[in-house]
């Protein structure tokens, strides 16, 4: 069972790596590529902490085999910010105190990006249903919902 050679794009950068077939994308990101911003909360695709975008679509990186990413574009939390500044979604999370311990936050920020890319003006029910795959034990979700609404406004009307 030899190592597989994978060519992919991570946060806009061409990346090549070798992996075992059984390594997940999450494992490779964290342990081989030193991109530890993406977190593992359950390892079975139930908590969303490891959410990344694959060709713009929200997926749990713990359930994607690293080998499957060949030829695809991956965006992680490290690729959300624009240059040195925060992305408007991140700024909205910060301004609304939408995080506490922060472990689920990378996944939620990525999930928010996926939502607002698709639906720039979601109502609250849509937001709550959209992020139902991302568990947060600290915030009770209220301020996350507020932050997503705020982020939608910022993206629609950039300052």
């Amino acid at each position: 069972m030899s190592k597989l050679h994978v060519e992919t794009s991570i946060n806009g950068e061409a990346v090549e790596f070798l992996c075992e077939p059984q390594q997940s994308l999450l494992e490779v990101l964290r342990e081989e590529l030193d991109r530890t911003g993406t977190k593992e909360g359950c390892g079975t695709g139930d908590c969303g902490a490891c959410s990344v975008l694959m060709d713009g679509r929200l997926v749990c990186s713990c359930l994607v085999l690293a080998a499957e990413t060949s030829g695809h574009e991956i965006t992680t939390i490290e690729g959300i910010a624009q240059g040195d500044g925060l992305h408007p979604i991140q700024q909205a999370y910060l301004d609304n105190a939408a995080l506490q311990c922060g472990i689920c936050t990378p996944g939620l920020v990525v999930a928010t990006k996926a939502l607002l890319d698709k639906n720039p003006n979601p109502d609250e029910e849509t937001i709550r249903y959209w992020i139902a795959g991302n568990l947060c034990r600290c915030t009770g979700y209220d301020k996350i919902v507020r932050a997503i609404q705020d982020a939608a406004g910022r993206l629609a009307h950039p300052a």
Binding site: E20, E40, C42, D46, L86, A97, Q100, G133, R137, C138
Partner: protein, 784 residues
């Protein structure tokens, strides 16, 4: 300088967020050490068994394996058992009965998930694969998985030291007076309640990375802990890893705790031991299934309670009998939770002249139970608020009115169960909460729901809790093995910026922000010029960590007092600089002034002079500007509030939807309202989760049936409503800032509010938590 707006009390943006929101936080599992090795634990798949032969030969041959260590080797290591930090005495005076609790079992396993061996390998995958190859012979024993089964006369006994599986039979209050009041009562309401067992589920799994530097004979332990200093003390003094200065514990960013990361766990001990034995740093991060099986669970009480009332509907007595499940072993605070932070809160917000509580705790073949957000107080609040609600309905009185009639109205108020409430205004939050939820409009909303075939109900939960536990001497008398003061060290740098070292630990509570706000105001500097340091025993001298809602009232008070000392010294230095008598110097808004001169000095200027030491006699005043305080609170503080829940039930399916939820809390003085609201929201969802969704269920074989997110129902964003949160304020008198703890309130007031609302909607007396759709549907069906 001198004109900065006050930061404390404002919703200042969180200073910790820029790193956490970009993925740049440093959690334990994010860090790899040179020569890193990984541990995987071999855990018992059986709830109760004697251990036979342990064959490690196949595992040792697996590629990448560095070593396999068994319980037998651990037993020979000279290290001590995991211990409980609180001694409880039974009512007959006997000390609690404690059995063995080795970090790796060698003789017997007592719950599914108990570690019996550890495999250390070059990679996580190799360690996990090799752990599957360790062959353990188990000689199965009978199993008791609930507290009632454990009490049966023929029940199997887990620990020889604890006949009948009983750990203690404890009491508080005056039994005879309560009996008399019950006999003389005009009305007695009785209820039997189950407080469901919960799994904490911090979203960051527990994680450990232990290394040992032989050249310095020193351990370094990275660990996701709420209490790094307490853990170091335990590892040194209890487990026996050597003196504290030979152990460094680092808990940098920690992904939530809720109590579950405040304890000393087997994995920390075993990884440290293995790191020294094998000469490699040993890292372990729980898989979620391991978290379910080994993070200390919460709650798990069965209670019968009786409330006595006179003809005027005044409560005259409360009698409570509780059976609490400790799990297979006594966890770090396992003995405390069902006693001094439970039964001491049974007076709730009410003037109850006579209270008696008897608590019997037993061991079962389940995961150990310990403090989980609220820890004892949610259990007490649930008993009181369910009982009061049922009593009001039996008496035909409006539940809010019945509460009002029985509220404590003067302070301080000594209850019959140890506590003296120093402050509060219970009617204020009840009235405000009912106003905010528009209780007056409820009947119209109920009618509107009925027209759509839905049942609507309103429920109140008035809670009081005891936060910031202290003073230490009193806790010592009650059985605590430690003091519960907090330390603070303030280092003013020569340029006037400030470092604050605290023994509290933030794992979501925003200390880096709220603490900085206070310090900034005290010195008239910017919040950005204050750095809060915590979570490293080499940096902070000592502390007691964060749990029990202590970081504001206790931890920040210590900082406030250290600020007093800084100001006092700086004033003396300023007097020399201004050339005026010391007693004429004042410090306000960042400026030192004196009536004796027009000259003023800024905080940074005095700081610089403190270090240059050119202008004051160092024989009288030492150079430098750094102060330390240890604050021991003179008493608990008593956050209280009213939570009101409005539910709408679909009688056809039993689904409960929370239509509105209002929480009004009295946390005394609030440092950062945005942060405090977040604490309330999080607590509310954990409480709502307990009331509607969450339950750790075991089968008769001691297997955890709800051991994954497929079966343990975590609240998700579309399960819960928006919250309407308000505050009232009565200052706490037990700390200089007037603060009351805010971390646990949400999880205490909400479960009874939800259940009372469901009972109101259905017109039933009681339903046990979690009120799942099927349970509610059955209640609707049998009520019809």
């Amino acid at each position: 300088m001198g004109n900065l707006p006050k930061a404390f009390g404002q919703s200042v943006r969180r200073k910790e967020d820029p790193r956490l929101i970009t993925g740049a936080g440093r959690y334990t599992d994010d860090q790899q050490l040179p020569q890193q090795a990984w541990a995987a634990f071999v855990r018992s798949p059986i709830a109760h068994a004697n251990i036979g032969e342990v064959d490690t030969s196949a595992a040792l041959e697996h590629p990448g394996v560095v070593g396999v260590l068994t319980g037998a080797e651990f037993a020979a290591s000279g290290l001590n058992d995991l211990a409980c930090g609180w001694m409880i005495h039974s009512r007959n005076g006997d000390p609690m009965r404690v059995g063995e609790h080795p970090a790796l079992a060698s003789q017997r396993v007592r719950y599914v998930g108990e570690p019996v061996a550890v495999v250390v390998a070059d990679s996580r995958q190799a360690a996990r694969a090799a752990a599957e190859l360790v062959m353990v012979d188990y000689d199965e024993l009978p199993v008791v998985s609930d507290v009632e089964a454990a009490a049966a006369p023929d029940a199997v006994v887990l620990h020889d030291a604890a006949p009948g599986n009983q750990c203690y039979d404890w009491e508080i209050g005056n039994r005879d007076a309560v009996r008399k009041a019950l006999d003389e009562a005009a009305h007695v309401t009785e209820i039997r309640l189950i407080n469901n067992r919960l799994v904490p589920n911090a979203m960051e799994p527990r994680a450990v990375n232990a290394s040992y530097d032989a050249s310095r004979d020193r351990y370094t332990l990275y660990v996701a802990s709420q209490n790094p200093h307490g853990l170091r003390m335990t590892l040194a003094a209890v487990i026996g890893f050597g003196p504290e200065h030979k152990i460094r514990v680092i808990s940098e960013d920690v992904g939530g705790g809720f109590g579950s990361k405040a304890f000393n766990y087997a994995e920390e001990v075993v990884c440290m031991w293995a790191a020294k034995r094998l000469g490699r740093p040993v890292k372990w991060t729980a898989e979620r299934s391991e978290s379910f099986l080994t993070d200390a669970h919460g709650r798990d009480h069965i209670t019968t309670a009786r409330l006595a009332m006179d003809a005027n509907h005044r409560i005259t007595a409360l009698d409570v009998s509780t059976h609490a499940n400790l799990g297979a072993y006594l966890s770090t605070f396992g003995s405390l939770v069902p006693t001094y932070v439970y039964a001491t809160l049974l007076s709730g917000q009410y003037d109850i002249p006579n209270i008696y509580a008897n608590v019997v705790t037993r061991y079962t073949n389940t995961t150990p139970v310990d403090a989980y957000r609220g820890a004892g107080r949610p259990e007490a609040g649930y008993v009181v608020e369910r009982l009061v609600d049922v009593a009001a309905r039996e008496l035909g009185i409006d539940p809010a009115e019945f509460r009002r009639q029985n509220f404590i109205r003067t302070f301080p108020h000594a209850t019959p169960v140890e506590m003296t409430y120093d402050s509060g205004d219970f009617q204020a939050h009840l009235d405000k909460a009912l106003d905010m939820i528009d209780a007056a409009g409820f009947e119209a909303r109920r009618e509107a729901s009925r027209a759509e075939g839905k049942l609507r109900g309103l429920g109140i939960g008035c809670y009081i809790e005891a936060a910031g536990i202290g003073p230490s001497a009193r806790l010592g008398k009650l059985g605590s093995g430690a003091g519960l003061w907090e330390s603070a060290e303030i280092r003013v740098n020569p340029t006037g910026s400030v470092e604050v070292l605290t023994g509290c630990h933030s794992h979501g509570q925003s200390h880096e922000t709220t603490y900085a706000q206070l310090v900034a105001d005290r010195f008239g500097i910017s919040v950005d010029d204050v750095e809060i340091l915590h979570g490293d025993t080499d940096v902070v001298q000592f502390g007691m960590g964060t749990y029990g809602s202590r970081s504001g009232p206790v931890g920040l008070s210590a900082i406030d007092m250290a600020c007093d000392k800084i100001v006092a010294k700086a004033e003396k230095i300023a007097a020399h600089l201004l050339n005026v008598p010391a007693d004429t110097v004042t410090f306000e808004d960042g400026e030192f002034a004196s009536e004796a001169t027009n000259e003023r000095l800024g905080f940074a200027e005095v700081a610089l002079n403190a270090y240059t030491a050119h202008h004051f006699p160092t024989t009288e005043i030492e150079p430098g500007l750094k102060e330390t305080t240890f604050f021991d609170p003179p008493d608990f503080n008593f956050p209280a509030g009213t939570h009101v829940c409005e539910v709408e039930v679909d009688p056809a399916t039993g689904v409960v939807r929370i239509a509105r939820f209002v929480a009004v809390d009295d946390f005394g003085v609030i440092g950062n309202p945005m942060v405090v609201e977040g604490q309330v929201h999080g607590g509310l969802v954990q409480g709502i989760g307990q009331a509607l969704l969450e339950q750790a269920r075991y089968d008769d074989y001691g297997q955890l049936l709800s051991g994954s997110y497929m079966d343990y129902c975590m609240p998700r964003a579309d399960d819960v409503p928006d919250f309407d949160v308000g505050f009232t304020e009565t200052r706490s008198t037990t700390n200089p800032l007037g603060m009351k703890g805010c971390g646990e309130a949400g999880s205490i007031g909400s479960p009874p509010a939800v259940i009372n609302a469901i009972c109101d909607a259905l017109g039933i007396r009681h339903i046990d938590m979690p009120a799942t759709p099927e349970k509610v549907w059955r209640a609707v069906t049998s009520a019809a």
